[in-house]
Symmetry: C2
Subunit: 271 residues, 2 copies
């Protein structure tokens, strides 16, 4: 049955697990196949052409797993490759950028919205485009923060150096009187409290992962392919990576509400 098939979710690496977490919490009936492209991460500074090629291989792989819908749980790939992938596949596919833009438009009172993300996402201008489709009068201020991902991966989430880097990156946003800030990269929610302190109480932080899970649910209902019941069998969630499955599993077990036995390593370039 179509309804019993899994959702395919992918990211450049581990960050997309924050989206998986929200799907598990909010649509517990759904099975998930996750792919993290750990051999080729990060995506943030790479070109549109390359991100489309990588996304195409991953979508091909997930289709071999017979998924009924796809979630691009990576802001860069959502910004650069979603439109192309929507042309190429005949199952529903969503990214994290549009849901993030939507909730930011709902949140802002003064129509001044900040976006922090990778270079690729900011340069694409796609958050601005989606926000303007909903609220043409909104002013959007984007800022690339390329050191956030390596600092998080170094384990320096609470470090004074990270605070200094964050203060530097966020300084120009603080002058712009924004009341809403989109955390436009899946790693950034892991710096949420530091970013919140630096921006002050008047700025609401938006994490697109939660809204993406809700929009996915709406989409499944719209196509009449939402699962009716908690999935049977031992493996409702499966995880695949392109490199170093061991460290991926450790991270996954730290942030997901379930323990995963293993992540399978595949050669993504063959797809």
């Amino acid at each position: 049955m179509e309804k019993d098939k899994p959702i395919g979710v992918f990211d450049s690496g581990i960050g997309g697990l924050t989206v998986v977490r929200e799907i598990m919490r909010n649509i517990p009936n759904e099975r998930i196949i996750y792919f993290g492209d750990t051999a080729r991460l990060p995506y943030g500074n790479k070109s549109k052409e390359t991100i489309i090629r990588f996304s195409r291989q991953i979508v091909h792989f997930l289709q071999t797993q017979d998924v009924k819908a796809l979630v691009i749980a990576c802001n860069t790939a959502s910004a650069l490759a979603l439109e192309e992938m929507q042309k190429e596949v005949d199952i529903p596919i969503i990214g994290v950028v549009k849901p993030g833009a939507k909730v930011a438009c709902k949140t802002t009172k003064n129509n001044r919205i900040g976006v922090i993300a990778t270079k690729g996402t900011i340069a694409s201008g796609l958050y601005t485009d989606f926000i303007h489709q909903i609220k043409p009068q909104a002013e959007v201020i984007g800022k690339a923060c390329p050191l956030f991902v390596p600092l998080v991966e170094e384990g320096w989430r609470k470090d004074p150096v990270t605070r200094e880097v964050a203060a530097r990156y966020l300084e120009e946003l603080k002058d712009k009187d924004i009341d809403t800030l989109i955390l436009g990269c899946t790693h950034y929610p892991l710096l949420r409290s530091m970013i919140g302190e630096l921006m002050g109480e008047k700025v609401t932080l938006v994490n697109p992962a939660y809204e993406t899970a809700l929009q996915l649910h709406e989409l499944l209902n719209e196509y009449e392919i939402a699962s009716d019941s908690v999935p049977e069998g031992e493996n409702p969630y499966e995880f695949f990576v392109s490199d170093a499955a061991e460290s991926f599993r450790d991270f996954a077990n730290a942030i997901l509400p379930i323990d995963i036995d293993r992540a399978k390593k595949i050669n993504i370039e063959e797809y």
Copy 2:
């Protein structure tokens, strides 16, 4: 003629151009074909299996360019993939780790040598192995510095944040009474003056790129394939990348003694 064929040089991205520069300066008769794997950089935190697979594709590509010898101008790939590549190809091939180890052994007076590099290079233990082959009595202290590459690529080479990060990383090396420090990643020479100031005058910094060029020359002579004269034709140096050729060219023109017209973008996964 075998002697007239080019040298193939490769790296995960732009860092290997510091090796190209030394080859141009020290063996000006040789033609060079360079490949930078900018679509899949960085290599520093990836597994041995993945680095070998990537290196194999690049070696295949360079062999289609009819090279007479190969230089792995990336410390991580030298540490993790050189031995395997030497088994697989029948032309001379060298990395940067062994030459770096050799010059460090010549330099040290007190037999206490530090190595700073990526996680992959440090974890491989290969600098230590090569140093011990030459000087079994030497003590080698390794330290991974994963934030140096993103900081250099952010353009913060002289920044107080970078100085604070460097001070943190180098602190434990300062207590170990080393007199020689190998800059074991091709980006690190770009932080040379800051590292030199932090380590103090008594510590000699070793950049493996220069010694690699000299050992390449010896190897070409040994195989009797060194070029006899300055290369003819318009294109003695050719540059290929797997992503974003434009920014590569800007960086190359900033550090090489020649201006390059263009870097050609290829799909490395097809090799």
